[in-house]
């Protein structure tokens, strides 16, 4: 009776009614404790990222040289300490959540969207379509991700948008390959043939019959890629091709702190922890979501 909710009808008799799909997914999701913790943490990070602009002033607290003492270790006034320019690390970590989350989700959005589409087309149609798509994708796979990103940013200019595009497009090949292989295993199933026999169009077959069944490996890959996107963004910021300097992106903070990390480890500990916690939370939510979306796992 777990999937049913009690409802009393007009004649006073109670009966069990099925919940809507969204309620069902939520019901499944709730059962996974880790996923719920992850979701709470993620919501908290979002709230803090939004609240940061009310607590701190972007110009004075985040960007400019500050009157605070430089390189203070954590104390009451500056719980996370201050950096080499006297700015509060707490303020920058909170503000940085905006950039890191934005980069993480947009990059994965681009690469999952484009990659899954290409992979699904290749896996479903096979033959010439597959050859053209997959060989092109493999050519891009030969070039190291970072190099590809650098070329993209170098050609189109340094900005947050270009950084996200560069990171997103450079990981498309991985998603395309993953999507293709899972689509290929689903394509051979009899229910796909049955859908064809009913006259369902190719587009609908891909969207309704194949992708939902091929989703779990794609979803798992997407959640882990959020983490690597945040870290790649840090690499780019370090090379001076990513988020421009005063902006407190977490990766950029790490690279800014590099010369001081031997004597003032708090400069890398807090942004590092922030990355770790965010990534962990996203992974937990991703796992929970995958299980909740799969009706076969219902117990």
């Amino acid at each position: 009776m777990k999937f049913l909710k009690k409802e009393t009808s007009s004649d006073g008799r109670s009966r069990y009614v099925k919940k809507s799909k969204l309620q069902e997914v939520w019901h499944q999701f709730k059962k996974n404790k880790g996923a719920v913790v992850g979701l709470i943490v993620l919501i908290l990070i979002f709230v803090l990222a939004v609240a940061a602009s009310f607590i701190y002033d972007f110009k004075t607290d985040i960007c400019m040289l500050s009157r605070n003492g430089r390189l203070l270790t954590p104390c009451l006034e500056h719980p996370f300490g201050t950096d080499h320019m006297g700015r509060s690390v707490l303020a920058r970590v909170l503000y940085g959540a905006r950039y890191s989350l934005l980069i993480g989700f947009v990059v994965v959005g681009i690469s999952t969207g484009v990659g899954t589409l290409l992979g699904a087309l290749a896996g479903y149609y096979g033959g010439k379509v597959e050859t053209i798509i997959m060989r092109t994708v493999e050519i891009f796979l030969m070039i190291p991700n970072t190099l590809l990103g650098i070329v993209f940013v170098a050609v189109f200019g340094i900005s947050l948008t270009n950084l996200m595009l560069a990171l997103g497009l450079s990981t498309v090949p991985h998603f395309a390959r993953n999507a293709r292989s899972s689509v290929m295993t689903v394509r051979g199933n009899e229910y796909v043939e049955a859908a064809k026999a009913l006259g369902v169009s190719d587009f609908k077959i891909i969207m309704k019959h194949i992708l939902p069944n091929a989703l779990s490996p794609i979803l798992v890959q997407a959640t882990t890629r959020v983490a690597s996107a945040i870290i790649s963004a840090a690499t780019f910021s370090f090379l001076g091709l990513g988020v421009p300097s005063p902006l407190p992106e977490w990766g950029a903070m790490l690279s800014d702190a590099r010369p001081y990390m031997r004597d003032y480890p708090h400069l890398i500990v807090f942004p590092g922890l922030a990355i770790m916690i965010t990534v962990l939370a996203i992974n937990l939510v991703g796992d929970g979501l995958r299980d909740a979306l799969d009706p076969k796992l219902k117990r």
Binding site: A194, A195, K196, A197, L198, G199, V200, S201, K204, K208
Partner: protein
């Protein structure tokens, strides 16, 4: 020729397969799956397509829906007329309209022919939405009604396939096929994956729905009992060819082809439970080889020298009974089972 005369006055033929030949071409070999067969299905008739595994039954019916995978499938010759229209000349749009609406198919294994992540209601509604242009709500309502006609409570439309038993899944598959009232229903071994009690239920259901919906049915099976139960015409397929064809009564009571005889002989004898089974000796011929003579000659107890060298011609014994066996050229040849 009697066969052709019948085509001319055949207003009542919903499906006409003429001289169909299909082969599968791979790098290593060419498999001749269907070799020049003719089949016709009468309006509201039920045709049993019988034969061993690999005889080309499924290939034949898949070609009716133009679902032969290409590559490797190649259609060498033949026409398939569904309600008078050639299936292979339809545009993709017309084809998509024809599938499910004019011709629907019940697949062999209900465990795998339902999408595990869609509710059964949605799966039935999908075809209704597509072919009848109804809104999502109306289609879903109709899906519930269809579910009721196959004996499943409409309230279960929101359940997923894994929440149903095998027999109920097959009912759902039947409901999907019947949702748009197709003229022709193709059932590809619909009871093979089910146990005997459920088989009986599903057959009973199919018989009832056939009458209610007035559909014409092609029933693929290798169970002669099922054929006797629900078919009124039988075509026996062997190595991609139809070796014997006729009304149920003619083929069962007046069996002509040695292969059909072999099939009947290999049924267990209910009256003598200790008797051994008499299977047809040998194996089905290699479908990658073109035999100069009769494909059954190797295994046939009546085969003569001529059978190995000369292809048998289709012979119409009477207007309801065709046999493709060269020995019937001899005036007084007959098989043992009479």
């Amino acid at each position: 020729m009697k066969h052709n005369e019948k085509i001319d006055n055949a207003e009542d033929i919903v499906l006409d397969i003429q001289d169909l030949a299909i082969r599968y071409v791979t790098d290593d070999a060419t498999t001749y799956a269907v070799n020049h067969i003719n089949l016709r299905l009468k309006r509201q008739g039920t045709l049993g397509l019988v034969g061993e595994t690999g005889a080309g039954k499924t290939t034949t019916v898949l070609s009716i829906l133009n679902l032969i995978p290409d590559p490797p499938g190649v259609i060498d010759s033949g026409k398939i007329l569904v309600n008078g229209r050639d299936v292979h000349k339809l545009s993709p749009k017309e084809l998509s309209e024809m599938r499910g609406k004019e011709v629907a198919m019940i697949f062999q294994d209900p465990m795998t022919s339902l999408n595990p992540v869609m509710t059964v209601g949605d799966q039935i509604a999908e075809s209704i939405m597509l072919h009848e242009g109804l809104s999502k709500q109306d289609a879903y309502k109709k899906a519930k009604e269809t579910l009721e006609t196959v004996g499943i409570s409409g309230e279960r439309a929101g359940d997923y396939p894994h929440q149903f038993s095998g027999g109920m899944k097959q009912r759902v598959v039947i409901a999907i096929a019947l949702a748009c009232h197709p003229n022709i229903l193709i059932a590809d071994e619909p009871t093979t994956a089910l146990d005997v009690t459920i088989q009986a239920q599903v057959l009973e259901l199919m018989k009832k729905l056939k009458e209610d919906y007035k559909t014409s049915t092609i029933m693929i099976t290798h169970d002669l009992g099922i054929v006797a139960e629900i078919c009124d015409e039988v075509a026996v397929m062997y190595a991609g060819q139809i070796v014997e064809q006729g009304t149920l009564r003619e083929v069962f009571k007046n069996t002509k082809h040695p292969y059909t005889e072999g099939l009947f002989n290999s049924l267990p004898n209910m009256n003598d439970r200790n008797s051994k089974l008499t299977p047809i000796r040998g194996l089905t011929p290699d479908p990658t080889i073109i035999y100069p003579g009769c494909t059954f000659a190797e295994r046939c107890p009546y085969a003569t020298e001529r059978c190995h060298t000369e292809k048998p011609q289709q012979k119409w014994i009477n207007e309801n009974h065709m046999v493709a066996c060269g020995r019937y050229d001899e005036p007084d040849f007959h098989i043992e089972r009479r």
